[in-house]
C-alpha cells in the first residue's frame, strides 16, 4: 500500500517595511499605485488577510482606505470586488486596480484630499516562514492539529498558498484531494469564500467540513 504523504503545518509572519511614499488624494493614490513595487501591491492586497483589524466589508488595504478615509464608498466597493487570486502576475493585478480607479475618476472627478496624518502610506512586507512541528497523516489527526494551529498557520495554508506555483490553491484542499483522495471534501473546502471570512471563521468552516467528512466515513462502516 502506497504511503500517504503527510501534511506538515507551517506558519508565517510578515515584517513590514515602509517605502516612505504616501498619497493624500485619489489621483495621487492612483499614480503611487501605478509606480509602487510588486512587493508593495502584494502587501496591501494579499497580506490584508493576515490583519486582525481588517474590516470585513472590504477585501484589501486600497479599498479600505478609499472607503474609510477618503469616503469614496462606490470606489471602495469596486476595489473590493477585484479578485487578487485571478491574475497571472502582480503587474496584471496592479493594472486592474489602476483601471478601476481611472474609470471611477472619469465619473467622479472631484474628490477631496484627506487630512494630514490620514494619508495612505505605502508599505512592503517580508515574509518569514517556519514549520510548526506538527505533521498529520489522516483526517482525524488533521482535525486535532488545525484546532491547535495558530492563525498565522491558517493564513499560510489557506490564503498565502494560493500564490504558490504550480498548484495555486489552498494547501488544505490540495492535500485532501491529492494525498487522501478526498476530492469531494477538497471541492467543499475550495468553495469557502476566502474574502468573506476572518482567519478564525475560515478555520471554523474548515473544521466543520472535516468533521462532517469524518462522520460520513464512520457511518459507512
Amino acid at each position: 500500500m502506497e504511503e500517504i504523504k503527510p501534511f506538515e503545518f507551517r506558519q508565517c509572519i510578515t515584517i513590514i517595511k515602509a517605502t516612505g511614499k504616501k498619497a493624500k488624494t485619489l489621483r495621487e493614490f492612483k499614480d503611487r499605485i501605478a509606480d509602487a513595487s510588486d512587493e508593495s501591491i502584494s502587501h496591501h492586497v494579499y497580506h490584508y488577510f493576515q490583519k486582525e483589524k481588517r474590516i470585513l466589508e472590504y477585501t484589501n488595504d486600497f479599498a479600505q482606505w478609499a472607503g474609510e478615509t477618503l469616503k469614496e464608498n462606490i470606489l471602495a466597493e469596486q476595489l473590493s470586488n477585484v479578485d487578487p487570486y485571478s491574475f497571472k502576475s502582480v503587474n496584471d493585478l496592479r493594472d486592474e486596480i489602476v483601471g478601476v480607479i481611472d474609470a471611477y475618476l472619469k465619473t467622479f472627478s472631484k474628490t477631496r484630499a484627506v487630512l494630514s496624518g490620514d494619508e495612505f502610506y505605502f508599505n512592503e512586507g517580508v515574509t518569514l516562514v517556519s514549520p510548526v512541528g506538527m505533521q498529520v497523516k489522516n483526517l482525524a489527526e488533521f482535525l486535532i492539529a488545525i484546532r491547535y494551529a495558530e492563525l498565522e498557520s491558517i493564513y499560510y495554508h489557506f490564503y498565502e498558498a494560493r500564490l504558490r506555483p504550480p498548484v495555486e490553491v489552498d494547501d488544505f484542499s490540495h492535500w485532501f484531494g491529492d494525498a487522501l483522495n478526498k476530492t469531494g471534501l477538497a471541492d467543499r473546502i475550495r468553495s469557502i469564500d476566502p474574502f468573506m471570512h476572518s482567519l478564525e471563521a475560515a478555520r471554523q468552516h474548515i473544521i466543520e467540513l472535516v468533521e462532517d467528512e469524518l462522520k460520513n466515513d464512520m457511518e459507512k462502516f
Binding site: Q11, I13, I15, I16, K17, A18, T19, G20, K21, K22, E39, S42, E52, K53, S116, G117, E119, Y121, N123, E124, G125, V126, T127, L128, V129, S130, V132, G133, E150, E152, S153
Partner: protein, 416 residues
C-alpha cells in the same frame, strides 16, 4: 563622567517563562532566530536607564536575549543638564514644536556623543541606537549593522531640526519606526515595529485584590468612587489639563475621581515644571489626585491601572503610548487621542474609543461609566488584542527578524 553597562542578570525571566502567555508562533520564531544568532553581539544604546517605556523594555529584553545565547548588551549614554535640555528641545521640535536649536547646541550635542563613543565599546554584529539623543554615534561606527530606532512621532517635524538630524540618520543601514506614518522618505530600509509591554514585569503582572488595596492605601488613593486614570510623563503633549477639563465635564453627571500619575525621567528636564502647572490647574478639588511618582513605581502604576474603571491616554502627540497597551492588558477599556501609535492599539468601539477633543473624551468616559457590560467586553477584547500584538515577545521576534532580513537583503520570503 562614568559609563555604566547594564549587563543581564541570568537569574530573571527567560523565554520559557512566557509560554502560555505569549502567542506560540512568536516564541517559536524567536527560538529559531536565536539559534542563528547564538553568540553574536547585539548592542542597544539609549539615553536613560529608567523612566519611560524604552528603558523598561530594554531591561527585560536584555534578559530574554541573553537567556537565548545572544551576546546582548545595553549601554546608556551620559550627558549633563545642558545636553538633555538640547535633546528635549530636539524631541519637542521633532514632534512639531517650533524650537530654536542653535549651531552651538548642535555642536555640543555632537561633542557629548563623541565623548560617549570614546568610552563605549561599539563593536557588535548589530547595533540598535534608540531615539535622537545618541544618533551621532553612527559617526564612530566600528562594525556590524547599525539601525536607528525612532520611538517618537516625527510625521510633522520642525523641518530645520529634522534636516540637521537626518544627516546622521542617513548614515545608518536601516531605521525602525513604530508606525508607518512616522517613517520618513529616506534612502535606507525602514522597518515598522511597534513597541511592546512586558507582561510579567511588576508593572504588568497579576496583582491580588489585597495587593492592590495595600498599594493604593500607601499612595492615598481611595477606592470608594470610579477612578478615571491617566498615566504618563508630565508633558504638554499628553494634555494633562485637557484630561482635567474632560473630568470636569463628566463630573456634572457622574460621581468619580481623577488620578493623573506620572514619573520623571532623567532625559526630561521639563517634567517638574509641567507637574506644578497641572497641580495648580487641578486646584483644591479633593477628587483629583496628581501624583509624581519615582521611576521605580511599577507596582503603584500596576495597582492604579487595575483599580481604574476607565483609563485615558489623551495625547495630542504620541510616539506609541505604551500605557494604552498596559491598561488593555489589565482588561480595561481605554480612551485615547487619535494620534501617533494610539489608533494602532485601540480598535474604536471594540477595545476602547479614539477621541479628538475634550468633549469627545468626556462623552466616552460617561459612556463607559454607565455601561459596565460594554466596558467589561471591551476590556476582554483589549487584553487578547495586546496578547497577540503588543507583548515584548513580539517585539523581540521583530527585532531578530529585522536583523535576519538585513543579512538576507533582497528576498521577500525567507525560510526559517
Amino acid at each position: 563622567m562614568e559609563l555604566k553597562s547594564y549587563n543581564v542578570s541570568p537569574f530573571k525571566l527567560k523565554l520559557e517563562d512566557y509560554i502560555g502567555i505569549a502567542p506560540k508562533i512568536d516564541l517559536l520564531i524567536i527560538q529559531k532566530l536565536a539559534e542563528r544568532f547564538a553568540g553574536r553581539k547585539f548592542l542597544h544604546i539609549n539615553s536613560a536607564k529608567s523612566g519611560g517605556g524604552v528603558a523598561e523594555i530594554l531591561q527585560r529584553m536584555m534578559i530574554i536575549l541573553s537567556g537565548l545565547g545572544i551576546n546582548a548588551r545595553w549601554e546608556v549614554i551620559e550627558g549633563n543638564g545642558s545636553f538633555f535640555d538640547i535633546t528635549k528641545r530636539m524631541h519637542n521640535a521633532l514632534q512639531g514644536n517650533p524650537e530654536q536649536i542653535s549651531q552651538d547646541m548642535w555642536e555640543s550635542y555632537y561633542e557629548v556623543n563623541k565623548s560617549n563613543a570614546e568610552k563605549i565599546d561599539l563593536n557588535a554584529d548589530a547595533v540598535l541606537i534608540h531615539d535622537p539623543q545618541p544618533a551621532p554615534l553612527i559617526d564612530f561606527k566600528k562594525s556590524g549593522l547599525w539601525i536607528w530606532r525612532c520611538h517618537i512621532d516625527i510625521s510633522n517635524p520642525h523641518l530645520k531640526t529634522w534636516n540637521s538630524l537626518e544627516k546622521y540618520v542617513e548614515k545608518y543601514d536601516a531605521a525602525i519606526f513604530s508606525v508607518s506614518k512616522f517613517a520618513k522618505d529616506i534612502p535606507l530600509d525602514k522597518f515598522i515595529i511597534p513597541p511592546a509591554i512586558a507582561p510579567l514585569s511588576n508593572k504588568n503582572r497579576e496583582l491580588t485584590k489585597t495587593e492592590i488595596e495595600n498599594v493604593l492605601a500607601t499612595i492615598n488613593i481611595p477606592v470608594d468612587k470610579p477612578i478615571i486614570l491617566q498615566v504618563s510623563r508630565f508633558d504638554r503633549f499628553k494634555d494633562p489639563t485637557g484630561v482635567i477639563k474632560a473630568y470636569r465635564l463628566v463630573k456634572r453627571y457622574n460621581d468619580c475621581m481623577l488620578v493623573l500619575a506620572g514619573s520623571t525621567a532623567t532625559d526630561d528636564p521639563e517634567g517638574e515644571k509641567i507637574f506644578n502647572e497641572v497641580k495648580e490647574y487641578a486646584g483644591d478639588d479633593q477628587d483629583i489626585s496628581v501624583l509624581l511618582l519615582p521611576p521605580s513605581s511599577h507596582i503603584e502604576i500596576n495597582a492604579l491601572q487595575r483599580a481604574a474603571t476607565v483609563v485615558l491616554q489623551k495625547s495630542l502627540k504620541e510616539g506609541f503610548g505604551l500605557t494604552v497597551s498596559e491598561a488593555m492588558w489589565k482588561g480595561k477599556p481605554v480612551i485615547g487621542g487619535a494620534v501617533g501609535g494610539i489608533p494602532l492599539q485601540i480598535i474604536h468601539g471594540v477595545t476602547g474609543f479614539l477621541v479628538n477633543s475634550v468633549e469627545g473624551t468626556a462623552l466616552r468616559i460617561r459612556q463607559i461609566l454607565n455601561n459596565p457590560d460594554m466596558a467589561r467586553k471591551m476590556g476582554e477584547n483589549g487584553r487578547e488584542y495586546v496578547r497577540r500584538n503588543f507583548l515584548i515577545t513580539r517585539q523581540i521576534r521583530d527585532y531578530l527578524s529585522m536583523w535576519y532580513i538585513m543579512e538576507n537583503k533582497g528576498k521577500s520570503v525567507l525560510e526559517l
